[in-house]
């Protein structure tokens, strides 16, 4: 255990945290360096996580005890495939978003707030990573709160009244969610006497027998609490405003990562802590499955009615979160893989779409879909990349969205519930109905004011991340082998327990 690489989980969390605290100080004296620091931290951490994979590959899930204190006293971090997978997604995607943020921020956030923007961003990244690794309820609660505050602040940092209002709405609702989560944790602690996930899981069987009501209530509270934070369908009301009004890099990180990390935490708790017996006692998985299906259809239908491009993308997130929940609550291996792989794929696609929409707004100030006729003449690269994202969302083969849809569909079949294949196909069709017209308009539509669409491409620092994301969408659509391998292991970890 003298190998320094053992400490990587803590190092990864701490570098982001330290970066977050350094950013305002550094920004006071060397404003140029703040962004550079932030842009360095994420990819370096991603590299460290790849090194960490070796431990997980070597054998069992490995637990890291802070300061060497073993539970029940110490704080434990668990490093399993799921955690690494999620943490890798967080760092890779935020690295790309931070690259993009450099120029985009000038249009959206006051100059003296840039360093605080990076603080909040890094804080959010640290909190999300910690949520992925946390192995006790206490930390899960604390980091949920930190992530919530950081996310709200990332919206409110843009000095516009819509943002402040959306941020406030988000704050209030997610505080209610946090309250529910804390209450649930208290109920679990009451009957099991532990906060550590492993120990709770060990005591869960006996506790569920003695106090079935406690367990059921805490499960319900957890689902509602995390459901609010991850915008599970009827609890999504805060999301559209928050995600559409925020600065584009914030929208991307909120839609691409934040929403999903809560879903992962909830799923991890339900599957590994509560376990099969509790799930068997009540049709919880089926309930989530139905809620998720409703989310998929309803989210797409709402998106269909939108005229603002970012609102459309936000409602589409509601539907896509439904995919993740659906995949995992199918409880078959392929289904779980579909849900997990969609976390990655959706992170890529939605980040891409939000950044591309942000680029359009940055250059032209146009947000209404009907104004985007012929925009591709002005911004060909941006719209080409946007089309990749849109086709991926629809699930055209060759793009990564198709892979997750396919696994979800085969998963639904494996679980003996072929009805849900129809839900997935229905939603693909709906996705097509609202994404493809944008692409068609952009490329084939003709604008009355043809003259104003002189070719006007983005700065390289914005084009580059977009192109990277677009290529990643295609790459993981054609050669998803290594990704699927990791996802398969993560799914095994979830299902096996």
């Amino acid at each position: 255990m003298n190998d320094p690489t053992v400490h990587i989980p803590v190092i990864v969390i701490c570098t982001s945290l330290i970066g977050a605290f350094l950013a305002p100080v550094l920004g006071k004296y060397r404003p140029a360096l703040v962004g550079l620091m932030a842009r360095l931290i994420a990819p370096v951490n991603a590299l460290l996580l790849v090194i960490l994979l070796r431990y997980v590959d070597a054998g069992e899930t490995f637990h890291y005890y802070m300061g060497g204190w073993a539970p029940p006293w110490g704080i434990a971090l668990s490093v399993d495939y799921l955690a690494i997978y999620v943490a890798l997604i967080i760092h890779l995607v935020s690295a790309v978003i931070l690259l993009y943020a450099k120029d985009d921020l000038f249009g959206e956030v006051r100059g003296d707030l840039h360093r605080w923007y990076y603080t909040l961003f890094l804080l959010l990244v640290a909190a999300m990573t910690a949520l992925a690794f946390s192995h006790d309820f206490f930390n899960i609660f604390v980091f949920t709160e930190i992530a919530t505050i950081a996310a709200c602040a990332l919206i409110a940092i843009k000095p516009k009244k819509e943002c402040i209002e959306a941020s406030f709405k988000y704050l209030i609702l997610s505080t209610v969610g946090s309250g529910f989560i804390l209450l649930a944790l208290a109920l679990i602690y009451m009957v099991t006497g532990h906060f550590n996930l492993t120990l709770v899981a060990q005591n869960m069987g006996a506790a569920a027998e003695a106090y079935p009501l406690n367990i059921m209530v805490s499960l319900a509270l957890l689902i509602v609490g995390f459901g609010v934070k991850s915008a599970l369908f009827p609890l999504h009301v805060w999301l559209p405003d928050a995600h559409s009004s925020a600065p584009s890099p914030s929208s991307a990180v909120l839609s691409g990562l934040v929403v999903k990390i809560y879903a992962v935490v909830l799923i991890r708790i339900i599957l590994t802590v509560f376990g099969g017996e509790v799930l068997a006692a009540a049709p919880i998985a089926d309930m989530i499955l139905i809620i998720a299906s409703v989310a998929i259809i309803a989210g797409s239908l709402f998106a269909l009615a939108q005229t603002d491009i970012k609102l459309l993308l936000a409602f589409s997130t509601v539907a896509q979160v439904g995919y993740i929940y659906m995949g995992i609550s199918l409880l078959s291996e392929t289904g779980t893989m579909g849900g997990l792989v969609h976390i990655f794929n959706h992170a890529l696609m939605k980040t891409l779409l939000f950044l591309a929409a942000g680029a359009i707004i940055h250059q032209t100030g146009l947000r209404k879909i009907s104004d985007l006729d012929g925009i591709a003449k002005r911004m060909p690269i941006t719209m080409a990349v946007f089309s990749v994202g849109a086709l991926s969302m629809v699930g055209i083969p060759g793009f990564n969205g198709f892979i997750s849809k396919m696994y979800l569909a085969t998963g639904a079949f494996d679980a003996g519930k072929p009805v849900f294949i129809l839900v997935i196909l229905m939603s693909s069709l709906l996705n097509g109905l609202y994404y493809l017209p944008i692409v068609v308009r952009a490329f084939l539509g003709t604008n009355a004011e043809e003259g104003k669409f002189a070719k006007d491409e983005l700065p390289l620092s914005m084009t580059f991340p977009l192109v990277i994301l677009g290529l990643a969408c295609i790459y993981f659509g054609l050669l998803p082998g290594s990704l699927l391998e990791l996802v398969r292991k993560a799914a095994h970890y979830l299902i096996a327990v």
Binding site: F141, C152, A156, K161, F168, I172, T175, G179
Partner: protein, 124 residues
């Protein structure tokens, strides 16, 4: 009768749930933003009360080791530690939310969410 006697014996739980519900109700139904934040605080204290009373042992003593402290039954200190963190997080949430309220007041001239909604609708 069983329920009532259960309630009487666990009056701390009962009270904390009542406070939690009052807080949540204020938070979700009152239109005044400052009231919402007060409700948030009340809701949080309700949960805190619940958590701490889990660790409470009648006749136990505070988890501070006395000089000749042998054979003393301490209460469970873990929930208290959790709640301490919770209080700090709560106050930062409150501060943040209040700063948002001040910002909103600057833009809309009101702290009432219904009026803000009305104004936004008119703007569209």
């Amino acid at each position: 009768m069983n329920i009532i006697s259960g309630l009487i014996q666990n009056y701390f739980y009962f009270a904390s749930i009542v406070i939690f519900l009052i807080g949540t109700h204020v938070m979700l139904t009152h239109s005044n933003l400052i009231k919402k934040i007060m409700g948030m605080n009340i809701m949080e204290t309700g949960i805190f009360l619940f958590v701490v009373s889990i660790g409470y042992i009648r006749g136990g003593s505070a988890p501070i080791v006395p000089i000749d402290g042998r054979g003393v039954r301490f209460i469970n200190p873990l929930p208290s530690a959790l709640i301490l963190t919770g209080i700090v997080v709560g106050v930062s949430l409150t501060a943040f939310a209040l700063s948002l309220v001040i910002e909103l007041y600057k833009y809309y001239g009101t702290t009432d969410s219904d009026e803000i909604m009305e104004m936004r609708r008119r703007e569209r």
